[in-house]
Symmetry: C2
Subunit: 216 residues, 2 copies
Amino acid sequence: MSPHVDPVVARDHSPRQEQKERTREALVTSALELSQKFGFAQISLRQVANQAGVVPTAFYRHFESMESLGLFLVEQSFSTLRAMIRDAQRDPSVFDNIINASADVLVEAVKEHKAHFAFVSRERLGGTPAVRQAIDHELNLFGSELAIMLGRLPNISNWTIDDVNMVARLFVRNMVSKAEEVVETPDGRTDLEDRIKDAARREMRLIVIGFRDWRS
Amino acid sequence: MSPHVDPVVARDHSPRQEQKERTREALVTSALELSQKFGFAQISLRQVANQAGVVPTAFYRHFESMESLGLFLVEQSFSTLRAMIRDAQRDPSVFDNIINASADVLVEAVKEHKAHFAFVSRERLGGTPAVRQAIDHELNLFGSELAIMLGRLPNISNWTIDDVNMVARLFVRNMVSKAEEVVETPDGRTDLEDRIKDAARREMRLIVIGFRDWRS
DNA sequence: TCTGGATCTACACACGTGTTCACTGAATTC
DNA sequence: GAATTCAGTGAACACGTGTGTAGATCCAGA
């Protein structure tokens, strides 16, 4: 049963693969850092390679082009977001007070993966067409997942699908907007972060309260 | 009283000034068109000059650099927005139903100045630092003006300043978001525009209704 | 009608870019 | 231990870039 195992997968702890993985990560990290300063669309393959301590041509051993690096960054960014929502679904306290919890979760997640969120919020509209489209796709996916999650809540389980979807979209937009704000706050200003959390909570309450009234 | 008049201002209909103004406008238009395709931060001085039918070095007769062109575009974009809000304030029907009116006004304004709004929404986060800062400043200004306008409405004249400012900020963010959506809809799809208008109205009602409940 | 100054042109330079190619040397396989 | 694989190297290329300088063209005011 062993000779048919893919060697790349089977031996991904060999020194060779480890080294490769390390420089690949260096490229990704460098790209994120440079993106934060100048925006991904303005940085060059050579800049990324230099910052990663590698010659430009070595870049091609890991990514076909800058565009494919950009798409990888999109995927990586949203995979952390998906993990976040998956964890939140497991936590029973989230169901008790989804608004307070999601504000906390969001702000903490953004702080922890600041570079990724900065990348997404910046390239969502400012990036190259391929990257923008990828982000748009992921955001729609996230909205759908959120809608399913919301639909399971007892107090809105009798809403129409359209209503749930609209609330989900409003929440996603709110989260995008708040994530942008958190990204732009300097590190260590927990006071500002708390204020953003408060605003997020109030606005989400606004949305659900308004919706309740709207439907009546 | 005549010899001391600034000749540039006094003779701005001379053939010389007319020609200059024409090529300047060509540069601005070209920059907007190219921005819409690739984003302002990715386009070059030479591309703009070529599209305007002018040699690259002639660019410097009109703008010091691409950055100053960018700042000019920001200013120009927001001047149309300011004109919009000024007109709206004069119209008495706006006070009767500010929500319906502002949704219409916004969508129409975006449609009419699509290139400018596309520029702003794209460069707000994706652009160079100088351009981003300029846009941020203008948006804050717009929020303040809107807060003043809202504060004059009879039914919220007894709100606290903080509350009015928060609603104004929510409205601005909503408008930015809706403007982004309108910019991304293809021309002629009035059905989609109407849907955006509806969503904008509903969300603004959401905000004010939620706020009323929130304060009680 | 002439002259000064402006708008614009033509050419040139140094530089950073993406991508190619043959290569090296260490890890991996046989 | 020999052969092979392959991440990373370094030189080279064609190209687009911002900007400097010198000169052409043409309108303005005397």
